[in-house]
Assembly symmetry: C2
């Protein structure tokens, strides 16, 4: 089914909630004026809708193929990638110095959402390349940056992240890949990496692998991991490609979803290249501090995966709405002359509105976080930068965890709206359900996000950042005071905020006494936070709509957005209370079962 970028809602969120106008006024934000951003969004949508969205189903049916270490991408992907990079989209948020556009994150964010909605499998290639670029920008030498970044920005090359090994998934302390120092200052890598997205393909001339490995004398654990850049083809000083390096794709996985993205097993040091045994790599940043560098990149990648959740939820929603308007079945429950389109049936409406408002809430939460990222990086005032950085870092695990868990639910509802047709692959709804399922797993499972939220983001500062956020939420409550039309919404949000506050207090207070009990409620805490943040943004949206309507704006968007905000607060926010109870009462029973009794 055709995809239409939800530009009306995106513009609303950028302008009314995420502070695009304020970002525009920051140093370096000059290019992000309303008109320019509008033009970018239009052009972006045009490309994605026309050239990339049609690949989504085709790629699912014709996944990449592996032969003798080489991977052929799904039909049409290489050409679409050329259109994408030639339009300059890979460099959207990267520095002008290396050929990028240097745009704020809040502008790149909707473009990334739309790219993922058009085709999740396709979007992973730019997403991982972004990650490799960020790592090099953060920790690479000037020479490394010059050598690798411009060709990734112009799309001649792509990038990957090589973390996982068969025994080292969530637990990177178990990484075994070895790096041996060479007399010329380079390293030779030996080991096996798995689950490497776009680890091998034929869409670009070279692939730049960012690889976690262990130096000979490195300590055990995560503090013995170093980061290396390992190009598939060595790069000569003049930028031309040299010998084939000793990194070899042994196979690609047969997956539940995102089938068009090749997921590679990569072998380093099997003497399969032209350089002798051992893949040649170059240390990025300091020895044994590879994971710290990766974490910087991972924050960006986790945020991006959160956007993937919003994207697939948006697309699943559009698909379901189209079907529900079209499919005529059964009379209305209140009586009707004949059968009606199923969008009239109350439960179908409930499902569609659940899908839509979860998507919109998650979008608003993510975009507001992106705005904070820009403030954190560009604001002239150090305190403002620090405050926004803290907010952004707190939000990353929520954006990642909540948006992706929500996406699985939305995609599943999308099937349900279609009834039996949803289970037939030709319909297309099933693909979103399959594709979405990876999102709460890769770049850190929801539990890993929740650990981050509990430990580094909440307990470590005694809940200070969370408390500050809750303070801002209460300001929104105050704005809602006295608005009769929003009084139910206000009460529902107030309940959620209070539960949120109580849970944060519980996390902070119990963390020292019984850390296991706190972690038993970690994912429910993350979901509770995500739902409440969603409610906060929906309430802010409702207030903005009320202001527009009061000013006489007759755009039908505003009453619909208001109706959606009301639905979210009446239907989704009540889950907060269930989660609160689960967190506060549930720890002991989670921990009581003896391992042998499982």
């Amino acid at each position: 089914m055709a995809y239409v970028a939800p530009l009306r809602d995106i513009r609303f969120v950028l302008n009314e909630l995420a502070g695009l106008d304020k970002v525009h006024q920051l140093p370096g934000g000059e290019e992000a004026g309303q008109e320019v951003v509008d033009a970018i969004l239009d052009e972006n949508a045009r490309l994605l809708q026309e050239a990339i969205a049609p690949l989504n189903r085709d790629g699912d049916l014709q996944p990449p193929t592996w032969r003798d270490g080489a991977v052929t991408a799904s039909p049409g992907f290489a050409q679409a990638f050329r259109s994408f990079v030639e339009g300059g989209w890979q460099g959207l948020q990267h520095p002008v110095d290396f050929g990028g556009q240097g745009l704020p994150k809040v502008v790149a964010t909707p473009c990334m959402e739309n790219l993922n909605a058009a085709c999740l499998s396709f979007a992973l290639c730019p997403l991982l390349t972004d990650g490799a670029i960020e790592v090099l920008l953060t920790a690479g030498t000037e020479e490394q940056k010059r050598r690798f970044i411009p060709s990734m920005i112009d799309g001649s090359w792509t990038g990957t992240m090589n973390l996982t090994e068969p025994q080292a998934g969530s637990d990177l302390s178990l990484v075994r890949t070895r790096a041996v120092a060479q007399p010329d200052g380079s390293y030779r890598l030996h080991g096996q990496k798995i689950f490497i997205t776009y680890g091998e393909h034929d869409m670009a001339r070279n692939i730049v692998h960012m690889v976690l490995a262990r130096l000979a004398d490195a300590p055990e654990g995560v503090k013995g991991l170093s980061l290396f850049v390992v190009p598939k083809f060595l790069v000569n000083d003049d930028g031309s490609l040299g010998k084939r390096n000793d990194v070899w794709c042994a196979s690609i996985e047969h997956k539940l979803g995102i089938k068009a993205s090749p997921t590679a097993v990569l072998l380093y040091g099997e003497d399969k290249g032209e350089v002798g045994p051992g893949a040649i790599g170059y240390l990025v940043g300091e020895p044994n501090r590879g994971l710290e560098t990766m974490f910087i990149m991972m924050n960006a990648a986790r945020f991006a995966v959160g956007l993937q959740g919003i994207a697939v939820a948006e697309r699943a929603s559009q698909h379901a709405v189209a079907y529900a308007r079209d499919r005529v079945q059964s009379r209305a429950v209140e009586g009707s002359a004949g059968p009606v389109a199923i969008v009239h049936h109350p439960d179908v409406r409930r499902m569609l509105l659940t899908m839509r408002t979860l998507t919109e809430a998650a979008r608003a939460v993510a975009y507001v976080a992106a705005g904070a990222h820009d403030f954190a990086h560009r604001h002239p005032d150090a305190q403002m930068r620090a405050r926004n950085q803290a907010f952004y870092e707190y939000m990353v695990p929520i954006v990642k965890g909540f948006s992706t868990e929500m996406a699985v639910e939305v995609a599943s509802l999308g099937i349900q709206v279609h009834g039996g047709m949803g289970f037939i692959e030709e319909t297309g709804a099933a693909q979103y359900y399959r594709d979405a399922r990876i999102l709460s797993i890769y770049e850190g499972t929801t539990a890993i996000q929740a650990n981050d939220l509990v430990g580094r983001k909440t307990a470590r500062d005694g809940g200070a950042v969370a408390a500050a956020i809750i303070g801002h939420m209460r300001e929104t409550l105050a704005e809602l005071d006295g608005d009769q039309e929003l009084s139910a919404l206000r009460a529902q949000l107030a309940d959620a905020i209070q539960a949120y506050e109580e849970v944060v207090r519980f996390v902070v207070e119990r963390y020292r006494d019984d850390v296991r009990e706190v972690y038993a409620g970690s994912v429910p805490y993350l979901m509770l936070a995500g739902l409440t943040h969603g409610g906060w943004q929906m309430a802010r949206a409702a207030l903005a709509c009320r202001r527009r309507i009061a000013k006489g704006d007759v755009d039908a968007f505003y009453p619909a957005k208001l109706a959606g905000a009301r639905f979210y607060c009446a239907h989704l926010l009540p889950r907060v209370e269930a989660l609160r109870r689960e967190i506060l009462q549930g720890g002991a029973s989670t921990l009581a079962m003896p391992v042998d009794a499982f």
Copy 2:
């Protein structure tokens, strides 16, 4: 992965909760003594574990194939079906007069659960055959019964249900298939049926289609539907097979899951057989009352699909537990010498216990309903029969809706426990996620179940049956009084029961004033009821365990079951409050959005 039938929990539920001993004392229940039932369960488990469970993955990888109207089943299926029917399993609950075993439903129920856990796709063939047998038992003439039933019970033939057409899914009033009366008393059928499970295959010599169609002079709507039996091959008076009838399989579907079960498009009256144009069929029951007859069968089929949910949830849970015990990753959050098996991590435990206790709760709810079915059919006292029949009928949409929605959640959690490996098809966890997704759709979507629960089962009798059930739930609360160890569980259950009562009152009271508002909360009502019934049965289980332990029984099963009951009430029952709020507050916002704004 190998499947092990959960006989310990099954026996506990049968004996302690579902009243197997009382069913044994009923007329016709003589065969269902403890020892016989134990032997049946053991023998059933042996066959399923050895001969059928291994087919599950193979069938997924090698679905049936279609060629020129003929369908070849997945490799091994025909042979396994022979073992199944030769063991007498198809006739387990069918009358002895026609070759069955005549066992109570409460005994057939665990066998059916285990069959579905072994292989959902395989189990659909006996499941649909059961449906065809029931229809004929209910409404067929003696001659029809004699002609068709024994061969279905002995597995020479199988049965199907032909309801759906492209324009008539949930809405059977739109069925168009025509039946034209013939001078000899038979009929000729013309039309197209879709989504016909096992509508064509090579596992048996004949297929008995039960087909909804419209007589020439029939009124419009569901009151103009008649039911016909249409064999693939005509049956001679001596029982031998005659000419190929004019029903032809035009294609089979490419589905998200249950891939090994052929889902056929059947064309009637295309002159593709040996009888000229028009499939020859025989009226079953009275003209224009076909849907009433189908409804009797559908109750059984809906119950059976609920069991499918429990079955796939059980299998997904076993798979996830095995992985979580085996996979070593990360240190314990409270500190440990090295990485530990992930079953030690609090969030993994939370997921595993959510999976397990949802499964166990749904099992107990279903088995108790099956016990009530036996009382309704076999008890000498008419009042007892009526009361149990009302209970069973109230429970059917809950067993179907709750068990299948829960199964999708459990299967999804099963993937999550596996992390990245869960997304790789070879692991097997993904198949349960795909397979489970049909269960909340076929035999009536969850919304259709919820409509039944709201309309026929709650509003129609002014909530009398629901009120009686709530009264029984309060008796369990009274039993929990004063038990300090179960005081938290008691409080959690009491909250849920109160919410349940409030929602039932809301449904009954609002039904006349604003039926749309009630239906807007229909699925949440069904889920609330399911969760609360699950909590009730878990509380009854906890009491039974306490009694056993008090008597000095040291079986480790009892403390584990107790721990599970506590977990369920602390983690799952809180959802009842969220649903209560959604139902009571949410109707208006579900209905407010204009259709054009979707």
